[in-house]
Amino acid sequence: MTDAELQDIETRLFFEAMAVRHGYDFRHYARASMKRRVQALAQSVGCPDIGSLIPRVLREEGFLGQALAHLSVPVTEMFRDPAVFLALRREVLPILDSYPRISVWQPGCATGEEPYSLAVLFEEEGMLPKAQIYATDINDMALAKAEEAIYPARNLAAYARNYAQAGGKTTLADYFTTAYDFSKISEPLRQKVVFAHHNLVADGVFCEVHMVLCRNVLIYFDRTLQNRVLALFHDSLVRGGFLCLGKKETLEGTDYADRFRPVDRDCRIWRKAEAS
């Protein structure tokens, strides 16, 4: 047996242990990226190989948190892909504005940069008072950071460039208070985002919403899991509700290609089709 084949077996058994012992099921994640993450986890906790992680994940107290932190890597930024936020501002928000109350669900929110970007949009379009953003993730460490809403001040310059390209109406610094090397999101924005633990793989519909913003999450899933998660999004959305995926994600090839109609193909925005 080749080393690569052996690693595949170890990875499979590790995910089996995570699922059976802890209920976190990564078995339907795209394998190549996950294998890199599991290898990184093994290295950071001093395991010589993936197989050695298995007894620890089964028996070691507190190991799960460490494992999850490595397996769901929070990489995000504010106003990532500014063109998408510009499209949300111009094409989606004016339609959402016709609702008396607006709920948005953002699964896979990581450390919160994206839901706060959305809160800035709502604020600038005068819709913040009636908006509510629910942001969820499986990574509790990331969620704790998101709730704190404190970010390294050195990141702000790049975020401000994105913000300007996203049609920002003032300067991004207006939404932060900065002290020393850290910047905190202003309280009115922070209060509009509710963070919660939710696992797309295992949990049900989170709540009824007018938009689901879920970018660069589906690329980590295999087709089976993509279909499960799209079902969840479809069931969560009101009729005519919006779905925004990552720039390289698509509904084509999934069970849900016909259940949504495209609003902006380039920015990957769809609307839930009327009853079918």
Binding site: T2, D3, A4, Q7, D8, A30, R31, A32, S33, K35, R36, R37, V73, V75, D81, P82, N216, L218, I219, Y220, R223, G246, K247, K248, E249, T250, G253
Partner: protein, 199 residues
């Protein structure tokens, strides 16, 4: 290495890569029997024009890599800017936005390692011009799994750091100028027509 035993080629390049890719890909015949998967370092916020630019005189079909796209012979797959590009065991492509590797995303190391896992000794990995050290760790994985490592002769590269790093690490099976790499590819993976003549 016996002709016909290779299943896929992966290519990595950085500074000076566009011209190098043309020199590598343009001579390949339309029935070249291996798929090629390419990662080039590009600015993340630009929408990629690379597939269009490469298509020019290339007789193979050049596509921007998408999530779950099957890898088939006769096509060149180019990773989109801002995403790592990986190969899955079922010979489909996948994307990730995980942390940068060697300060870049897409990283050549990420593609090469995942491809080495999938194709083992059926993989040809080609490292071209570039100004950082991305690709060296990837070639190490390719070599460990029995694949063939071709590296551009640094003397012919716009930026020599990348090929030089791989050569210094002792990972290059052959160090060749671009035209030679392209010919070498056709030798180790004979097209269907030529194969017919040989038989």
């Amino acid at each position: 290495m016996t002709a016909g035993s290779f299943q896929a080629a992966v290519v990595g390049c950085s500074a000076g890569g566009l011209e190098a890719l043309h020199r590598l890909l343009d001579p390949l015949p339309a029935d070249f029997p291996l798929p090629l998967v390419v990662v080039a370092h590009l600015s993340a916020n630009s929408d990629s024009l690379l597939p269009q630019l490469l298509q020019g005189k290339c007789r193979l079909k050049v596509l921007e890599a998408e999530d779950k796209m099957p890898v088939v012979a006769g096509s060149v797959y180019v990773g989109p800017p801002g995403y790592h590009l990986l190969v899955e065991a079922d010979h489909t492509l996948s994307l990730s936005v995980d942390e940068k590797v060697c300060h870049v995303r897409p990283a050549i190391d990420v593609l090469f390692r995942s491809a080495a896992d999938v194709w083992g000794d059926g993989l040809v990995a080609i490292l071209l011009t570039g100004a950082n050290r991305d690709g060296t760790a990837g070639l190490r994985a390719v070599k460990q799994r029995g694949g063939l490592c071709l590296v551009q002769d640094p003397a012919t590269a716009v930026a020599e750091t990348m090929p030089r790093s791989a050569i210094a690490a002792g990972l290059a099976d052959q160090v060749l100028p671009l035209d030679e790499i392209s010919r070498s590819l056709q030798r180790i993976a004979p097209s269907r027509a030529k194969k017919g003549k040989l038989e």
